[in-house]
């Protein structure tokens, strides 16, 4: 019961000897007949024996300094006998990789579970993590970063100083319930567009101002953009996309080019879905702001109608890339308008709106 047939390599010559391993109390004895027929035996003292960690069902042990002697054993009873013979000297450690010795169904099951976990991590864990990291990002650093971005970006545009001053007056007449320093810049561009940068800078294209007919539309636009700022959507978006990129490059480190391309594109797509979620959130939060300021929510409906007529849902591919379908937003806004509570007249807001309208419509 303490004898096993093994293959023995002496580490000097490539010959494989069919040998017998005998487990002695304090050492292993390996004996075989060498090619000349002479009986040869080798002694392995216990402390020098190293178990080779492998994925197969072959038990491999090495002994001594480089070049090491090796024995290979196929006998499944060996681990049991080793445990009995040398209870205080464990030869086999439990390892994560031991699952590879199980059958293929088990491996497939484990693999499937792991894949599910990875998928869950990607779809739910990553956005959550992005939000958590963004939330812990210091506000002062965010404002500084946003201002640098603004300075670099604004050079590409022509700023309308007068309209900018007027629009800032208008903005100050609404309580956006945020601690960020909201600063609005109007640039001479014909597109019906606007965007927010982290830290409080909002850039409004003159084209969209010109097409607005009511102060509520402008309030709705500003409320939407301020929500982007207040809920740190830019940061969350940056962290989500960066995280996704890191995640996938770690994941696909060893896998080939085709997969990497597939993955890059699906990450971009996933990110798109995420930024649409952020847009919807900006709409909802923006409506809350109008509601609490007593401004008519109809502004949102009119704003979306304006965007729709401007871009059309077919031609709005550019807008579609980050914003939800205007049609959907329009419907959602119409639903909420019905629940509008008390509208308060805001004379200051009206006054500033008239100034802007006068400048725009000359």
């Amino acid at each position: 019961m303490y004898n096993f047939s093994v293959r023995y390599h002496d580490g000097r010559l490539s010959i494989a000897h069919d040998a017998t391993l005998t487990l002695m109390p304090d050492h292993w004895l390996i004996h075989y007949r060498d090619p000349s027929g002479e009986l040869t035996s080798v002694r392995w003292t216990l402390p020098g024996i190293v178990t080779d960690e492998n994925f197969s069902h072959l038990f491999i042990f090495r002994f001594g300094e480089f070049p090491q002697q090796t024995i290979e054993c196929k006998d499944g009873n060996l681990p049991e006998s080793l445990k009995k013979r040398y209870p205080e000297r464990p030869f086999f450690k439990r390892r994560v990789t031991d699952i590879f010795k199980l059958n293929n169904t088990t491996i497939a099951g484990v693999a499937f579970t792991v894949l599910m976990l990875i998928g869950l991590g990607y779809w739910f864990g990553l956005p959550w993590l992005a939000g958590a990291v963004a939330a812990r990002f210091p506000t002062s650093a965010e404002i500084k970063m946003g201002d640098t971005m603004y300075e670099n970006m604004i050079r590409a545009y022509e700023v309308d100083d007068q309209l900018t001053a007027k629009l800032n007056d208008f903005t100050k007449a609404i309580d956006f319930k945020t601690n960020y320093p909201i600063r609005v810049t109007v640039v001479t561009e014909n597109d019906a567009n606007a965007f927010a940068l982290p830290g409080g800078n909002i850039v409004v294209f003159e084209g969209i101002l010109r097409k607005m007919k009511t102060k509520e539309e402008l309030a709705a636009l500003l409320a939407h953009e301020v929500s982007h700022v207040h809920y740190r959507h830019s940061l969350r978006n940056i962290f989500r996309s960066l995280g996704g990129y890191l995640f996938l490059s770690l994941l696909l480190n060893d896998i080939n080019g085709i997969v990497t391309i597939l993955a890059d594109n699906s990450n971009a797509l996933a990110n798109l879905t995420y930024s649409r979620e952020l847009e919807t959130e900006a709409d909802t939060k923006g409506m809350d702001v109008l509601q609490s300021n007593g401004i008519r929510l109809q502004g949102f409906v009119d704003l979306f109608a304006l965007l729709q007529s401007e871009h059309g849902d077919v031609g709005s591919l550019k807008l579609l890339s980050t914003h939800p379908l205007t049609e959907e937003r329009l419907r959602a806004a119409e639903m909420i308008v019905r629940g509008q509570k008390g509208v308060v007249a805001n004379r200051e807001l009206e006054k500033y709106w008239q100034v802007i309208a006068a400048a725009e419509h000359k």
């Binding site: 490539s14 494989a16 491996i107 994941l251 060893d254 896998i255």
Partner: protein, 317 residues
Amino acid sequence: MEQHETRQVTFYGEGAKLFGIYIVNILLTLVTLGLYYPWARAALLKYLYEESEFEGSRFTFHGTGKEMFIGFIKAIGIFLGLYCILFGAVATHNMTITLIGVAVFYIGFLLLIPIAIHGALRYRTSRSSWRGIHFGYRGDRKEFLNMFIVGSLITLCTFGIYGAWFVIEIRKYIFKHLRFGSISFSYEGEGSAFFWMNLKGYMLTLITFGIYSFWWAKDLFAYYVNNIRMYQGETALPFRSTATAGGYFKLIAVNILIIILSLGLATPWAIVRAMQFVFSNIHIDGPLDVNAITQTEADYSDATGEDLADMIDIGLV
């Protein structure tokens, strides 16, 4: 003595097992933010080696995650250093300093390639064995570096034409210094033949809209394999490729289908098919005494090259 003695390496790996290894590697690499990577790589190599059999005995990869981790950290350090120089130079907003920084970055990168190849060969061979006999690489780093720099410069000056000769020269050098115990190797290819083969392959691939590429790939593989010689004492044993263009086509077409249809999940099965294709198409002809190979190489354990090579993404020969 037999007239047509021939031997092969057989690959017994299974897609399912390889898949499992990949998945666990990926998960642990993710959870440890990449730090597990060297262990993942060691596990993968260990598996691929022990599923490769020659004359009834499996190969062994002796490298450990720990050794490779040290190499990994060094490699990361080298890369960080290079990037710091680059970004530092750019941050000065000074044209001259930026240009010097960029130059240092690229030259550093170029020097890293031969160093990485050399280091990876040294490490990988010393950690590979069969029946307890270790492989080894006896090339000299300085010599290899010189050869590499001169070769790269000439290749640049000749607009890539010298590249064919350069590749052959590198193969010759590497095989000349490769050992498997008392067995040595050589590579008998010639630059001009290699050049014409590539030129012909390139032209015909263009003319046939890519169809010829399978014949070209077959030729490249055959040129690589058929020029390898193995020496046991006075006996020279040639390597022989049996790969056909049709076989190549089947391998590539099916593998692409496997990968695309499974969205990449079945990549391990594709890898297994590729390994089987390569090994089943290489024959070692001639009378080899598989019991008489003696241990000759010394121990070596610096894994930096292995990881550098991995990061620059050089497929090892």
